[in-house]
């Protein structure tokens, strides 16, 4: 049939158009990842004079026993869960506020994205100074307001260090979440809220029954992006705490970096990368599946 003919031709043209991009992606993404998987089956460190020696699943066995690895996974999980939680709540509040009509809304919206647009390393540096035990402005404020008596060593205490890096991350990326959610909010027609209020709904009921279900896809997308970023967080931590104190804020990426760059344990580092990658892919795939179901629901 002619129609199939045309479709075939379009398909062929389509493939020809995307093949260069696909090749490039394979080269840039797939190759290093596959290579990491491959390298994970070798021991290549100072004890082998940096020569690769095939060692099967030895690296993975070592990982199971590696307390520092599990701690870094735990740290990453805590960091990710709390960052995302606060970013979602605050982002939603900011998005709801920005969705209201008020004077200077455009300006506020632009200012709101600024933290996200600035380089993370710079922001991390700024926060390191803010939380500085002796000169930090945060201590100064709290002491002046008499909320605390003596200055706290925010980045020097294991628990407060985690809280501090989470706070910095939330400060930096909440606006990203807010802007994504705002796009979702703005796609909801005002008519729906009016019809719902005539139906007898309170604003809180409208929020639960109209707003939340209709921006669920945007929430999932925002959380997906944020999960991928938070799980691989490196620069913020490296600059603020370097993973310390005593490994209290050491994330997986920091640990991998140390393994490879400081201990020159390339084989084990590669195995760590492979496992981290699999965890990431698994969560992203699950979320993607959920998103698909949400979108099917909305149709």
């Amino acid at each position: 049939m002619t129609q199939d003919y045309i479709r075939q031709r379009e398909k062929r043209t389509g493939w020809m158009l995307v093949i260069p991009a696909v090749l490039l992606l394979l080269l840039v993404y797939a190759f290093p990842i596959l290579r990491a998987f491959w390298l994970g089956f070798f021991t290549e460190n100072l004890s082998t004079n940096l020569q690769p020696e095939f060692s099967g699943l030895e690296n993975y066995g070592r990982m199971v026993q590696d307390g520092r690895f599990w701690q870094s996974i735990g740290n990453t999980a805590i960091f990710t869960v709390f960052s995302l939680l606060f970013e979602l709540i605050l982002g939603l509040i900011i998005a709801l506020a920005l969705d209201q009509a008020f004077r200077g809304r455009g300006l506020v919206r632009t200012i709101a994205i600024l933290p996200w647009a600035l380089p993370t390393a710079l922001i991390a540096l700024a926060w390191r100074w803010i939380f500085n035990a002796e000169y930090g402005v945060w201590n100064d404020i709290l002491v002046r307001l008499q909320i605390i008596g003596d200055p706290v060593n925010w980045l020097g205490d294991p628990n407060w260090a985690m809280v501090s890096v989470i706070a910095a991350d939330v400060w930096k990326t909440t606006s990203f979440v807010a802007i994504l959610l705002l796009a979702g909010l703005q796609s909801i027609s005002q008519d729906l809220y009016e019809a719902h209020s005539i139906d007898g709904a309170t604003p809180w009921q409208s929020f639960r029954q109209i707003t939340l279900p209709l921006i669920a896809p945007q929430i999932v997308i925002a959380m997906l992006f944020r999960f991928a970023q938070a799980f691989g967080i490196f620069d913020l931590i490296q600059v603020m705490t370097g993973g310390g104190p005593g490994g209290a804020t050491e994330m997986v990426s920091i640990y991998i970096y140390a393994t490879v760059m400081r201990y020159l344990d390339f084989g084990y580092g590669a195995a760590l990368v492979a496992v981290t990658f699999l965890i990431l892919i698994l969560v992203v795939a699950l979320a993607g599946l959920g998103l698909k179901r949400l979108q099917a629901n909305a149709e």
Binding site: S189, D191, L192, E194, A195, H196, S197, I198, D199, G200, A201, T202, Q205, Q209, I210, P213, L214, N297, A298, E299
Partner: protein, 355 residues
């Protein structure tokens, strides 16, 4: 069941934008009031004030004698059908229809029964599990209607509910609407810019222009005795012939022909004459007011022909007349009778009706 009253309702968005000006009217139980007027004349604003979505700048809305100005939309027991239908996209048809009842905490059995009744009346039974996105325009429209009907409200409000349907469907749904609301006891306020809907559906029509109420009356009154030039030209299709004329004694000159004025008109030097195309006819025995001219356009409307005539004696003067398509006539020197009882007279300055 409750009478709806609007008292001196005014809405000003700013000093310049005042879409509703001092509107007073009432709608009794079982009455079907249509607000009709051109786009932007404030119809939706009036509905929104009745619904409580907008607060009036001045004046009051009363339902069943009770001032509802301080009440939130949900506490007024009204139901509204939006032009966009405003169906909840993430809910099934069933959930959409039931939403207002659920929010009011009705018993599940009661909700089910009411939803069933409404869905049967509107033929929605096979669609109850679908989402709005999977419905046609006409089906969505019926879901929106069902959502209003199940509520059993004190007042129904409908904002141009047919304007998103194609012409054929619109006519059909219009007939359905008429039947459905004939059985309802509550007042209905229906907004449209389409005068055919206004004429066919309503027991009472309010013609609006510029934020002012131009005329309030039965469709028949509005058609037969339009209160002013605006109503005359807005209501009726094809549009009424409206001709400003100079006065000569107790008559006006329509090209070469003389048309007598009624005796009780005020003595002014000019006057506006109006006559509907369907009231111009081929002369019969006894007709004495006759106009003559050449036909320059014939539009076949099926049942009748709409002809445009250039009047002898004044090349700028054209008249449109609706003649039965089986009538025989010639394009040259066609004579048409102007029955005196079908002529409307309006004041040149105030544009108000004179006869």
């Amino acid at each position: 069941m409750a009478k709806l009253e609007l008292q001196n309702l005014t809405k000003a968005y700013s000093q310049k934008i005042v879409p509703v000006k001092d509107l007073s009217l009432s709608v009794e139980d079982g009455e079907f009031l249509t607000l009709v007027g051109p786009s932007g004349c404030g119809k939706s604003t009036i509905l929104r004030m009745i619904a409580g979505l907008d607060q009036p700048t001045e004046g009051r809305v009363l339902i069943g004698g009770k001032d509802v100005n301080p009440l939130a939309p949900g506490d007024r027991n009204i139901a509204m059908v939006f032009q966009s239908y405003a169906l909840y996209p993430h809910m099934s048809v069933q959930q959409n229809i039931a939403s207002g009842l659920k929010l009011r905490n009705l018993a599940t059995g009661d909700i089910q029964k009411r939803v069933q009744d409404a869905s049967r009346v509107l033929g929605l039974d096979p669609l109850l599990d679908r989402r709005p996105a999977k419905l046609s325009g006409g089906q969505r429209q019926r879901v929106a209607l069902a959502r209003a009907l199940v509520r059993n409200p004190d007042v129904f409000l409908l904002d141009e509910p047919l304007s998103n349907l194609d012409a054929l469907l619109r006519e059909q749904v219009r007939a359905d609407l008429k039947q459905i609301f004939e059985d309802q006891q509550s007042p209905v306020v229906y907004v449209t810019h389409d005068q055919t809907e206004a004429m066919t559906l309503s027991s009472k029509v309010a013609v609006l222009s510029d934020g002012y109420l131009q005329q309030l009356g039965s469709p028949n009154e509005i058609y037969k005795t339009p209160a002013n030039r605006f109503v005359a030209s807005f209501i009726g299709s094809p549009q009424m012939n409206i001709i400003p004329l100079e006065r000569v004694n107790n008559a006006v000159l329509l090209g070469d022909s003389k048309v007598d004025l009624p005796t009780n008109l005020p003595a002014k030097s000019s006057v506006i004459m109006g006559i509907r195309p369907e009231h111009l006819r081929l002369p019969r025995e006894g007709d004495h007011q006759i106009v003559q001219g050449n036909v320059f356009l014939v539009e076949n409307l099926g049942m009748s022909d709409l002809i445009s005539l250039r009047v002898h004696g004044d090349d700028n003067l054209t008249l449109r007349a609706l003649l039965p398509s089986d009538a025989t006539w010639s394009r040259e020197n066609l004579k048409l009778a102007l029955p005196p009882e079908s002529i409307h007279w309006f004041d040149t300055e105030t544009e108000a009706r004179l006869n």
